[in-house]
């Protein structure tokens, strides 16, 4: 695991001074229909014994690994596609082949223009809507046999390499906490968000 990632001004880390809403009031604010019908009201009103131990953000840091599309959560460090190619050759080719276009497991490269065809190929380049998700997923779950073993620089470099193989950034473009959230993924507008539901599916 990377050492405690440095936090940018992440909204979720902000400490609020105003009192937090009770969940019942919040449920009303969120428009949950008749919460008491599906869930006995007495249970919602029930209070716990207060056994949670309060933590500081610093204490949570090693677990606080989510990266949001706006880049919050991205740690210091950087890498480019050339560096990423070297890491990829050591860590990734067993499952994803030398250029990520084939392999035993998920294809990472190619598939552009296939999504509306009879044989869609969903890759990082053709399908993934956010570049930040690439960094997040590599850092938390890859390489498969040794997850959370890469440095943040290596993770940035691999992210840059995959973006470059997909023709999204140049070989010399450096990915870091500032540049990665600005990368425009080709399929960014390819999703229809159906939450909250507006009609019966």
């Amino acid at each position: 695991m990377p050492s405690g990632p440095g936090r940018k001004g992440r909204r979720s880390s902000r400490r609020e001074t105003r009192p937090a809403l009770r969940s019942a009031a919040l449920a009303i604010a969120l428009g949950i229909p008749a919460a008491g019908a599906a869930w006995p009201g007495a249970l919602n009103a029930q209070e716990g014994p207060g056994l949670g131990v309060e933590l500081t953000p610093e204490q949570i840091a090693a677990w606080d690994i989510n990266i949001a599309p706006d880049g919050s959560g991205l740690p210091p460090g950087s890498g480019d596609a050339r560096e990423g190619a070297e890491v990829f050759a050591v860590q990734c080719i067993a499952c994803h082949t030398t250029d990520g276009s084939e392999g035993l497991n998920d294809r990472l490269v190619g598939g552009h223009g296939t999504l509306a065809s009879a044989a869609p190929v969903r890759t990082v380049g053709s399908f993934w809507p956010y570049a930040t998700t690439i960094f997040d997923y590599i850092r938390r779950a890859m390489p498969y046999a040794l997850p959370q073993s890469l440095s943040d620089d290596e993770t940035y470099a691999l992210t840059a390499y995959l973006l470059h193989l997909n023709g999204i950034i140049g070989e010399d473009e450096v990915m870091d906490a500032e540049s990665l959230p600005l990368v425009e993924m080709p399929n960014r507008d390819g999703f229809i968000v159906v939450w909250p539901p507006t009609e019966e599916r």
């Binding site: 609020e16 604010a29 249970l43 998700t133 779950a141 999703f191 019966e200």
Partner: protein
């Protein structure tokens, strides 16, 4: 079987190709139906040729007690089928053997599995759950503390949203029902309402989502609407009365009733409260439903209304013409099952099946239907209707709406062809 037995009260034909009124199971003749299995009352048994003997197990002392019981060795064939991604052993799924089970509760050892990097070997004494983000007080809980919170119990199904997609293949796969629809299971879950813990942490007004994360080496994570988290989400600690099995998230998992199984994060270690979804790998590149125009539906959380006949089903053999009990399961993420209809003529005519108590919300519901098979070809189907009025669609209707590459939330009607030789196979009808 004699004609007179079949023409009696309770043998009223209610739909084409031999479907009989469900009241048959409520009459005295139905006591004959106590014999379980595919072929009860199929033919009058031949007269016994010999005197009964007393078998050896009646004449020797039996086995002693044991600390934890196991199924009979004669049931050793009742197994989950499983597969893993190439080059891995713990990145795949196992499927509940629906064709071997009855009732609605899935034995814990037969609950389906879907793991992304194996089952972590968690020491429960060192496991922690952290709630942080947009909260007044970031909190950490251990297992012992959580077990002191007010517990609730509910019998509810869990379904992988990829369940059933084998039937999107151009040709119907000739495999047991479990290998098409076995990514659904049902358990008695006991745990702590998540709303109680969020209350204690103090959710900030702008919070709209939580991001739940597992302690497995995939650190699997999903964004969940705050509305769901406060409504009926549970931190489950017990499954069918005992602590969770390791393959179902020991020592604690998120349980989101009626939502696609991927969101009910196993081995739950962290909940970050946020204003926006995190757009994790699982909720963008996976678990989004690709439409024919190349766009994909995102955040299709709730599982649709669905049913499937488990007996008879693909790969089983009929035991000659006669009276059979059709048996299957129905479920919906929307609440209760209102009605299940069965057809024996490929959907030309339908009749209502008997639903077996208890009829619980977001649970499996067992349905049964008497059927007199005349020995000719038949196509068996079931169609569930839930309490919102939603009707399970045909495969053709589902494909007309979503295409064939949506991959998730496949709830189409399953058709089984019963051939004249008694073989049962998968058919697109």
């Amino acid at each position: 079987m004699t004609g007179s037995r079949c023409s009696g009260r309770g043998f009223e034909q209610v739909a084409g190709n031999g479907l009989l009124h469900r009241r048959l199971f409520l009459t005295k003749t139905a006591s004959l139906a106590g014999a379980a299995g595919l072929g009860f009352m199929t033919a009058r048994p031949a007269a016994a040729q010999a005197q009964l003997d007393v078998p050896e197990w009646t004449k020797v002392p039996g086995a002693p007690m044991s600390g934890y019981g196991s199924p009979s060795p004669h049931e050793a064939h009742v197994q989950r089928a499983f597969f893993s991604r190439p080059g891995t052993v713990g990145s795949g799924a196992s499927q509940t053997p629906l064709e071997q089970l009855e009732g609605i509760i899935t034995p814990s050892g037969l609950h389906f599995e879907r793991h992304h990097n194996g089952i972590p070997a968690i020491d429960p004494g060192r496991h922690r759950l952290v709630i942080h983000g947009l909260v007044a007080r970031p909190l950490m809980f251990d297992l012992e503390s959580l077990a002191r919170y007010p517990l609730i119990s509910r019998i509810q199904f869990l379904e992988c949203s990829g369940n059933g997609r084998a039937n999107d293949a151009p040709e119907p796969p000739q495999v047991p029902v479990s290998q098409i629809h076995g990514l659904v299971s049902c358990s008695d879950w006991t745990g702590v309402p998540l709303s109680v813990l969020l209350d204690e942490a103090g959710v900030e007004p702008e919070a709209r989502w939580i991001v739940a994360e597992g302690a497995d080496s995939a650190a699997m994570n999903r964004s969940v609407p705050m509305a769901k988290a406060l409504d009926d989400a549970m931190i489950a600690l017990y499954q069918n009365g005992e602590r969770l099995r390791p393959d179902n998230g020991y020592p604690m998992r998120l349980f989101l009733p009626g939502y696609e199984g991927n969101m009910s994060i196993k081995w739950l270690r962290r909940i970050e409260v946020t204003a926006e979804p995190m757009m994790t790998r699982e909720e963008t590149s996976k678990y989004t439903d690709l439409l024919p125009d190349g766009r994909a539906l995102q955040f299709t959380f709730q599982m649709g209304v669905k049913s499937v006949i488990t007996s008879p089903s693909g790969g089983l053999e009929m035991q000659g013409p006669g009276l059979y009990q059709i048996s299957g399961i129905a479920w919906t993420g929307a609440g209760r099952i209102r009605r299940v209809e069965v057809s024996a003529d490929g959907g030309q005519t339908w009749a209502e099946a008997a639903l077996t108590d208890p009829l619980l919300p977001i649970s499996l519901t067992r349905f049964r239907m008497p059927w007199r098979w005349d020995g000719g070809p038949a196509v068996l189907q079931s169609r569930a209707i839930d309490e919102t009025g939603a009707v399970q669609p045909t495969r053709a209707a589902l494909h007309a709406r979503l295409g064939t590459r949506f991959d998730y939330h496949h709830n189409a009607i399953q058709s089984w062809l019963v051939a004249a030789d008694g073989a049962v196979s998968n058919i697109y009808a």
